[in-house]
Symmetry: C2
């Protein structure tokens, strides 16, 4: 069979945002593990380091221009979001997100008692007018944003909106949780400032991880916030899991210390850029009636299908055609206007763990279904 024929008969996974196997630097990480376990044994294999492995916290503190006390490293960023929700959300509090947003974060906030309201996402990020109207009705415990190459749409929050959102947080007195796991995977354009860099009132909490830059199975996530907040979350973490897993954190620290992270990110961008290009051009070509969010990086392109698209049992029909999709509804919280969310028209298209052939074939199958 030719490559084309092979691709045509393959099942194509447009589901979770995972790195492909070839993106995982096994040799280098294996050496880093071996080195830290042998050379820092009494720290790495012992109880302790409740705030995370100290050398990694120091590296992160330097990178983000904060003190070590403002950094907590834990077992993946979702666990840290769970702890933060426990700490900040009282029963029946609101949490605001972009609409659509990361499905697991929505679930995590809800499981901790929050009513989660999605504020519509525009081409350049959250709709700030709608956010302000929602704030006049009620102030949330926090606003969750993925400002760079958002999951699930790929959208990036513009500089002007970053400023306005931070102003609103200061004016109304709520926290912004900025989640930036994709930020370093930019395929086009220039970095915008972090929300944290625009904030002078301590309203921004930053969370990220090494899952997209190094390895998801390591589960090394981190959070940056005020010392008081980090102290509280450390106590909660200690009561929940005693101490974080340390060999993985130490291996990440060693990997960074050896100067390997930046080149790894560069090689990931080289690997992912053609896939990102294939996805955006395939969507333009095959789904001309759909609204595609502009993605300049990360793992996803998000598409809102036309009003008249056939979305009836789309996931089921796609599966019959060998195309595996995530149900669009998962990414939608409650609407801010009381209308039912339009999740059935939304499709998240992850492009990193599929080849350009698979991308073209997959989008073509999708087009045939709607």
């Amino acid at each position: 069979m030719s490559t084309d024929q092979k691709t045509q008969s393959q099942q194509i996974l447009f589901t979770r945002g995972v790195p492909p196997a070839e993106a995982l630097p096994a040799e280098d990480l294996g050496e880093c593990f071996d080195s830290v376990v042998r050379n820092d044994t009494s720290v790495v294999l012992q109880y302790g380091q409740q705030r995370g492995y100290a050398p990694l916290r120091k590296q992160l503190a330097e990178e983000y221009g904060v003190s070590d006390d403002e950094v907590l490293v834990g077992n993946g960023s979702l666990q840290l979001q769970d702890l933060l929700s426990k700490h900040l959300v009282n029963e029946e509090d609101a949490v605001f997100t972009e609409q659509p947003s990361y499905d697991r974060s929505i679930l995590t906030f809800r499981r901790n008692g929050a009513r989660v309201t999605g504020i519509p996402l525009e081409e350049d990020g959250i709709d700030v007018e709608r956010l302000e109207r929602a704030l006049e009705r009620e102030v949330p415990a926090f606003l969750y944003l993925v400002p760079d190459f958002q999951n699930p749409t790929g959208a990036t929050l513009s500089l002007e909106k970053r400023r306005r959102v931070v102003e609103l947080a200061e004016r109304y007195g709520f926290y912004i949780l900025e989640d930036i796991p994709y930020r370093k995977l930019r395929y086009r354009g220039e970095d915008l400032p972090l929300l944290r860099e625009l904030d002078s009132a301590g309203r921004v909490i930053t969370v990220s991880s090494f899952s997209k830059l190094l390895s998801p199975g390591m589960r090394v996530g981190f959070m940056i916030g005020s010392k008081g907040l980090i102290d509280d979350l450390t106590g909660l973490a200690e009561n929940t899991y005693l101490a974080p897993v340390l060999p993985t954190q130490a291996a990440v620290s060693e990997y960074i210390g050896r100067g390997m992270l930046a080149p790894n990110v560069e090689s990931l961008k080289e690997l992912y850029r053609p896939r990102w290009e294939a996805m955006t051009s395939s969507v333009k070509q095959e789904l001309p009636g759909a609204t595609m969010f502009t993605s300049n990086g990360g793992f996803f392109v998000g598409v809102m299908l036309p009003e008249d698209a056939n979305t009836q049992n789309l996931v089921g029909r796609a599966k019959e055609q060998g195309l595996v999709l995530t149900p669009g509804e998962s990414f939608f919280a409650d609407s801010d206007d009381g209308e039912p969310p339009r999740g059935e028209r939304f499709v998240r298209l992850p492009f990193c763990a599929v080849t350009t052939d698979q991308i073209e074939e997959g989008v073509s199958r999708l087009a045939g279904l709607v």
Copy 2:
């Protein structure tokens, strides 16, 4: 200075139950990490394995005579106890423990909304008459037991009592959570059956970890229960931390697969046995009026000081003498009889991470204070 003089001027830590640095097999573990990261890269460094690393689950299933579906491996056993509490405890439910019991478990159950009642611990384990009386008043969500070399006392539940507790669980319809992290570290006598082995009604859930047998910093804990329960907890785990940390689980599996765990446990027993002997004989000699729980293994000897002992600010006064103790009160839940718990008279004496000289000197300092 002679060794004796040095010990006399040292601070002595009778606090947390941690292994000493010399007990951590760094070289072998370093190799295991390197091997699994290189050889099983696409599993170990990737998302997935929500129930834990499959080869490790298989090894544990074989050891405990259950199916793979009945095993969940996660980031330390306390995290699994937290998930189990979330699942089983409804607001204001009771959880029963031994009195005294593991302080962090008591906290974890309480944080999940449980009223935690301690049933007095006797020389041969929980007081079954008192347990039965408490059960007549109310049936708990579960009974938490550390049947082998209990934390904090060192006591072991007798065979007869194991049978009676399991009968009560079947009759009244509650779960028993048996926590067995110390079980393989027996310095005297023969193993008793697990509660799980005496249970024909599926009332026993077993939890343990590799923290005491290999390394605490790895945070590899596991739980064994019915497939239905493990399915539910896996869902809850996935919503909380997405996927477990995998390189550590894989390294443990490799370490077991290379036949290294059993010899390591033997060498730990050789290291710890003289310390255990020193602790029990020092307590007998220096604190003749105290009631010592009989410990035949594990990490701790527990002592109930005499009624007339001076326990006023004992932890503070001990610290002034260079002796660091954990406050006894931490190990006490609410009493089953409405009386105030007698935690101030209780002292937990961990012996694994201190030398025999330190043990003798430490117990002597303690005797001088009470």
